[in-house]
Amino acid sequence: MTAQAVREGLIAAGYRAAVECRLAELTAERIAAAAGLDSREFPAHFGSLKEYLLALQQHFLDDLRGKIVVATMHSAPGAERIRAATMAFLDGCLAQRPLRSWLIELRATDPEVFDMLVKRNAVYTQLLRIEFESMRMPHAVESARLFFVMTQETALAEHDAGQVLADMRETMLVFLKVAA
């Protein structure tokens, strides 16, 4: 098995382990066992549990971005594409609720994990700005920042509720009518 395949196996094991245990119970041994590896192999692929968790978050964020791309690739710029992207973002977050529990906990306590998220969110905010500009939304830069913070809050509310919250989604999409 290639090193890349082993790494991918360990990352996939993280998603499964998140269903079964809390972050505080996570160990390199547990991940290795879930991936069918000897725990002594873990450090060769991830130097530490922290490095592994950073890679896991990166994987989650990349996967989420991929879902958004698929959901929007045939849409023209504008409100409908933002709506599709937002729904893909929210659905993607909810679909990985166990892993998100780990990541939410980590982001609240680990500056490195938090910074990685801030950087990715800055990309989303820039993309939103471009969409808002195409819609001639007033104050596109500021609107993008506000819209994204609503998206994050809705994702958090749905995470806590364990289900889609249609009221939150509908209310946040009212923002797009400002440009209409």
């Binding site: 609240a108 306590t109 680990d110 500056p111 938090f114 007033p138 104050h139 830069v141 500021e142 609107s143 920042r145 506000l146 913070v149 609503m150 994050q152 809050e153 809705t154 509310a157 919250l165 009221d167 939150m168 509908e170 209310t171 946040m172 009212v174 923002f175 009518k177 400002v178």
Partner: protein, 185 residues
């Protein structure tokens, strides 16, 4: 009640006032020693009145947020219920944050402190609940959702203005545009 017990609340207040002064001066590393020294008390005082430094910082942030809340209440309590009052409360919240840069600095510096983070989360939730009641009173669809979203948007605007060190009229306008759009649903 013993003399020590009677003095307790006063000492707590003195320690919180000292922390506020340190924060206002832009002191980055607030410690038990620096707070006690600022208050003119012995080094061990903080530990006698607050469970941990983390709890002290949580109380400090809460005390500053209480001031802000009281200001907003004083400015809006006599206004008629409606979106204009919600906007006025947001305006007051943003102005209150701008004239207290130490509040946002404290919250940012101690972002990863669980007690400070919990205070921040709880207050934003409370702010959202107040707006929920306002929205429910004027028949806005999904008032709880509207309240929660407006609260985080107001907080985000306050953070942006703190980062910029000035009012951001465009961001406020975007925030208020959403607020008034809620009425038109």
């Amino acid at each position: 009640m013993s003399k020590a017990e009677a003095a307790g609340p006063d000492i707590r207040r003195a320690l919180l006032a000292a922390g506020k002064q340190l924060a206002e001066r832009g002191e980055k590393g607030i410690s038990a020693e620096s707070v006690s020294a600022e208050a003119g008390l012995q080094g061990a005082s903080l530990g006698q009145h607050f469970q941990t430094l983390s709890h002290y910082l949580g109380c400090l942030v809460e005390a500053i947020l209480d001031e802000l809340r009281d200001e907003i209440t004083a400015e809006t309590a006599k206004l008629p219920q409606g979106l204009a009052r919600v906007q006025r409360s947001m305006e007051s919240y943003l102005e209150g944050n701008l004239c207290r840069p130490h509040l946002r600095s404290l919250m940012a510096t101690h972002r990863f402190d669980p007690v400070v983070a919990e205070v921040s989360r709880r207050r934003t939730y409370g702010y959202g609940m107040l707006m929920n009641m306002e929205f429910a009173g004027i028949g806005t669809p999904f008032p709880a959702a509207a309240g929660r979203l407006c609260a985080v948007m107001a907080v985000e605007t306050a953070i942006a203005e703190h980062e910029a060190g000035r009012r951001l009229p465009d961001m406020r306008e975007a925030l208020y545009a959403f607020l008034w759009q809620l009425r038109k649903q």
